[in-house]
C-alpha cells in the first residue's frame, strides 16, 4: 500500500514538473509575421548593487519598446531579455548558458560589471556573440581573451563598451585631487572586487605619478558590516579614495565619519547612486566627491539627453540614474544594426566590430577604439550636498 502511494506521489511530482516545463516553453508567435531577434542584458537587476545597473536595463527597454512600436526596424520584432546576475561573476557564468546556445540572441548589452565581463567574455568570444557594456570599466577587459595585461588583443573581437575605462577616470581624479583639493597625501580602500581593486590601485598609481603620497591601501570585505579595522587605519589621512560599489562606499563613509575622520572622501562611478547616501546614513555622505566618466541624464540636460530623461521619466515614473544614457546608446547601436539588415549573430558581430564612430550617442560621442574601448571623454565630478548628488562639472572646467 505504502509503495503504491509513493509511486503515485512520485508520478504526481513528475507530472507537475513536466507541466511547469511546458509552461516555460516558447509559444510560437502566430499573430505577427515578424521575425524575432533577441537581445540579452546581463547585470544586477535585483540585489543591493542594482541601482548601478537598473537604469541601463530600463533605458535599453525604453529604446527597444520604442523601436518595436514605431516599426522602425521593418519585419523584425526585438525581444529584449534581462538575465539577472545580481552583479556576481558566478551567476553570470551560469546565466550565459541560457542565451549563448540560442542563436536568436544576436547581441548582448552588458555585462554591467567588470567581474561579470571577465567571467563570461571568453565564452562570448567563442560563440561570436557581440557585447556592448554600458558600465564595465576595468582597464584590462579588452585583453582578457588573450590573457594579456593591457594593450591590444587581436584575438578578441566581441568586446565593446560605451564608457571610457578606469584610467580615464583615474586621470580625472588625479587632476582634481592635485589641482582643486590640493591634497599631497591620500589613503585608498577597496572591496577586493575586479572593479573596486583595479580602480583604487589604478588611481593610486596615477596619483603617485602626480606626486601624491600613499598613506595606506586597505581592503574591506563587502559582505561584512564591520569596517572598524579599516577605519582605524584610514582616519588619520587627509583624504580617502574608495574603489567599489555604492552600498559599501556608504557604509565605510559612515563608519569613517563616526570614527572621527574629517578629511575628503572620494569614490568613483561605482558609488554614484543615492544608495551611497542611504548607506552612509545621510550625514556620513555629506561633502563626499564622486567621479564618473559619464554624464548623468537629467530633464534639463541639453538636446537628446534631456529628451531621453523626459521619456524615461514618462515611462518609468522615475528619474534616470547612473549609466542610463549608456544603456540607451548600447540598445540604439543594435537597433541601427538591425535597420541595416544585420539580423544574425555573425552579421551583427561584424557590423558592431566595423564601427568607429556611432552617430546616435546621447551619453557622449561614441567612438570605438580598435580594442572595443570607448575613446577617452571628460570626467564629471559630483558632490553630495544636502543628501543629493550634485554635478559640479567636468574636471577640465573645475581645474581651470
Amino acid at each position: 500500500m505504502r509503495k503504491r502511494f509513493s509511486l503515485v506521489a512520485v508520478s504526481l511530482v513528475l507530472a507537475l514538473v513536466g507541466a511547469a516545463c511546458q509552461q516555460t516553453a516558447e509559444q510560437p508567435d502566430v499573430a505577427e509575421k515578424k521575425t524575432t531577434v533577441k537581445i540579452a542584458f546581463v547585470g544586477a537587476q535585483t540585489g543591493p548593487l542594482n541601482p548601478l545597473v537598473i537604469h541601463a536595463i530600463r533605458a535599453a527597454e525604453l529604446a527597444f519598446d520604442a523601436a518595436n512600436e514605431s516599426g522602425e526596424v521593418k519585419g523584425i520584432n526585438i525581444e529584449y531579455k534581462v538575465f539577472d546576475s545580481q552583479g556576481s561573476g558566478d551567476q553570470a557564468t551560469t546565466l550565459k548558458d541560457k542565451f549563448i546556445p540560442d542563436e536568436k540572441f544576436i547581441g548582448l548589452i552588458g555585462p554591467a560589471f567588470s567581474g561579470e565581463t571577465r567571467a563570461i567574455l571568453p565564452s562570448l568570444q567563442e560563440a561570436g556573440l557581440v557585447m556592448i557594456s554600458p558600465s564595465a570599466t576595468n582597464t584590462k577587459l579588452p585583453s582578457i581573451v588573450c590573457g594579456g595585461e593591457g594593450g591590444d588583443c587581436p584575438a578578441q573581437t566581441v568586446f565593446h563598451r560605451v564608457v571610457p575605462d578606469d584610467d580615464v577616470q583615474g586621470k580625472g581624479v588625479a587632476d582634481y585631487v592635485t589641482k582643486v583639493l590640493k591634497l599631497t597625501k591620500l589613503a585608498y580602500a577597496h572591496d577586493n572586487s575586479d572593479y573596486g581593486k583595479a580602480v583604487a590601485e589604478g588611481t593610486r598609481d596615477l596619483l603617485k605619478a602626480a606626486g601624491v603620497t600613499e598613506v595606506v591601501t586597505v581592503a574591506i570585505d563587502p559582505a561584512s558590516q564591520d569596517y572598524s579595522a579599516a577605519v582605524n587605519q584610514l582616519k588619520g589621512a587627509p583624504g580617502v579614495f574608495y574603489g567599489g560599489y555604492a552600498p559599501e562606499a556608504g557604509r565605510l563613509a559612515k563608519q569613517l565619519t563616526d570614527g572621527g575622520f574629517n578629511g575628503k572622501y572620494l569614490s568613483g562611478d561605482g558609488s554614484l547612486d543615492q544608495a551611497f547616501v542611504s548607506g552612509a546614513g545621510g550625514a556620513g555622505a555629506e561633502g563626499a566627491f564622486l567621479t564618473c566618466a559619464c554624464k548623468l541624464a537629467t530633464a534639463d540636460s541639453p538636446g537628446e539627453l534631456g529628451q531621453f530623461a523626459k521619456d524615461y521619466k514618462a515611462k518609468f515614473k522615475l528619474d534616470p540614474g547612473v549609466y542610463a544614457g549608456e544603456g540607451y546608446d548600447a540598445a540604439r547601436i543594435f537597433i541601427e544594426g538591425l535597420k541595416k539588415g544585420h539580423t544574425t549573430r555573425k552579421a551583427m558581430h561584424d557590423y558592431v566590430e566595423s564601427l568607429t564612430t556611432v552617430p546616435a550617442g546621447i551619453s557622449k560621442t561614441i567612438e570605438f577604439l580598435p580594442n572595443g574601448n570607448q575613446k577617452p571623454t571628460e570626467v564629471f565630478v559630483h558632490e553630495i550636498k544636502g543628501g543629493k548628488i550634485v554635478v559640479l562639472g567636468t574636471v577640465e572646467e573645475l581645474t581651470k
Binding site: 540585489g47 561584512s224 579595522a229 582605524n232 542611504s278
Partner: protein
C-alpha cells in the same frame, strides 16, 4: 603589510566591541550543542530575525530615519524596550524552529547528521523567506544613540555605542552564567547536557529543557541583534550569515558547549580579526583569524577552555 604601532588601542577597543556581539551569538550555538550535540546553523537567522525585530520595534515606537538621536531616560527606555522585544521575538523564533525542524527528527531517532542538514536547510529557508518578504536591499536603522566620544584612552575613542555593546553583552552573559549554574532549570539543562538518559530517568522533562535551551539562545541572539542594529545601523536578509559563522568559530575556539568559553572565544576572535587586518591588511583578516583557530585546536582540540556545559560548577 601594516603595523600595529599607534593603532593598538583603537584596534583593541573595536575588536572587543565586535567580539562582544560574536560572543552573544556564540552562546546560542554553545548552549544547543551542549544539550543536543547539534550545531544549529539556523541560529544565524535567529540573530537576523532579532536585527529585523529591533528595526521594526523602533518604527513601531515612532522612531524614523533622520530623527534626532535620543537622550537621557528616554534613550535608556527605548533601547531596553527594543531589546526586550527583539529578545522575545528571537527566543520565540528559536523555540518554533526547534519544534518544527528538529523535534520531529529527534522523536524518530534520526541520526545527528540529519539534524545538521535540516539546520542548514532551515537557515537557507529563513534567509530566502526574508529576502522574498523584505527584498534583498539594506534597511537603514534610525540613529537612536548619538555616537559620541566619551573619553580617549591610549589614542582610542571610547564611544557611547561601543560601551553600550560591550557592557550589555557582559551583563547578559553574567546573568546567563549564573542562571545556568544556580537555578533549578539551569540544573536541568546541565543534567541533560551531562547525560540525557539519566536525566530523563531522574524526572527531567527532556523536551522542556531542549525548548528552554533554544529559548535562552534565542534571547541572547535577539539582544545581539539589537546591539548590532544600534552599532551598524543596517538590516538585511543575509546579515546573520557572516556574524553567525564567526560566532560559531568563536564557540569552537573557546570550547564548544562551554558558556564562558563562548565569551572568551568571541572576544579573542574579535581581537584577532582586527589585529590581523591592521598587520596583514583587510583581505587577510579571516585567514589570520582562522590560522590561529587551527593552531589553537592543534594544541587544545577542545578549545581554549575545553569544558562541557554539563561540568560547569554550580
Amino acid at each position: 603589510m601594516g603595523c600595529l604601532t599607534g593603532q593598538f588601542w583603537p584596534q583593541t577597543i573595536d575588536g572587543l566591541t565586535l567580539g562582544a556581539i560574536y560572543a552573544l551569538i556564540a552562546l546560542g550555538y554553545t548552549l544547543v550543542y551542549g544539550v543536543l550535540r547539534l550545531i544549529n546553523f539556523a541560529h544565524s537567522e535567529i540573530f537576523m530575525i532579532g536585527v529585523f525585530a529591533s528595526l521594526f520595534s523602533m518604527h513601531a515606537l515612532g522612531i524614523e530615519l533622520g530623527d534626532p538621536a535620543k537622550t537621557g531616560l528616554f534613550l535608556a527606555g527605548t533601547i531596553l524596550l527594543v531589546m526586550i522585544v527583539s529578545m522575545v521575538v528571537s527566543g520565540t523564533a528559536a523555540v518554533a524552529l526547534e519544534r518544527i525542524a528538529y523535534r520531529p527528527l529527534r522523536r524518530r531517532g534520526a541520526p545527528r547528521l540529519a539534524a545538521l542538514i535540516t539546520a542548514i536547510g532551515a537557515s537557507l529557508f529563513l534567509q530566502e523567506l526574508f529576502a522574498l518578504r523584505y527584498s534583498r536591499d539594506y534597511f537603514p536603522f534610525p540613529r537612536v544613540l548619538e555616537k559620541k566620544v566619551l573619553f580617549v584612552f591610549g589614542g582610542a575613542d571610547i564611544r557611547a555605542d561601543k560601551v553600550l555593546v560591550v557592557a550589555s553583552a557582559l551583563v547578559l552573559m553574567v546573568i546567563l552564567d549564573r542562571f545556568v549554574a544556580k537555578s533549578r532549570v539551569g540544573r536541568g539543562i546541565r543534567a541533560v547536557a551531562q547525560n540525557p538518559e539519566t536525566a530523563a530517568l531522574m524526572g527531567v522533562n527532556l523536551d522542556r529543557v531542549v525548548s528552554l535551551t533554544f529559548f535562552l539562545g534565542g534571547l541572547l541572539a535577539g539582544a545581539g541583534g539589537t546591539l548590532f542594529g544600534i552599532f551598524f545601523e543596517q538590516a538585511r536578509y543575509n546579515i546573520g550569515f557572516l556574524p553567525g559563522i564567526k560566532a560559531f568559530t568563536a564557540a569552537v575556539l573557546g570550547g564548544i558547549g562551554n558558556i564562558r568559553g563562548a565569551l572568551l572565544g568571541g572576544f579573542t576572535l574579535g581581537l584577532l580579526e582586527n589585529y590581523g587586518s591592521a598587520v596583514f591588511g583587510g583581505q587577510w583578516k579571516d585567514v589570520f583569524a582562522f590560522a590561529v583557530l587551527v593552531l589553537v585546536l592543534m594544541f587544545r582540540p577542545t578549545g581554549i577552555l575545553g569544558e562541557q556545559l554539563g561540568r560547569t560548577r554550580a
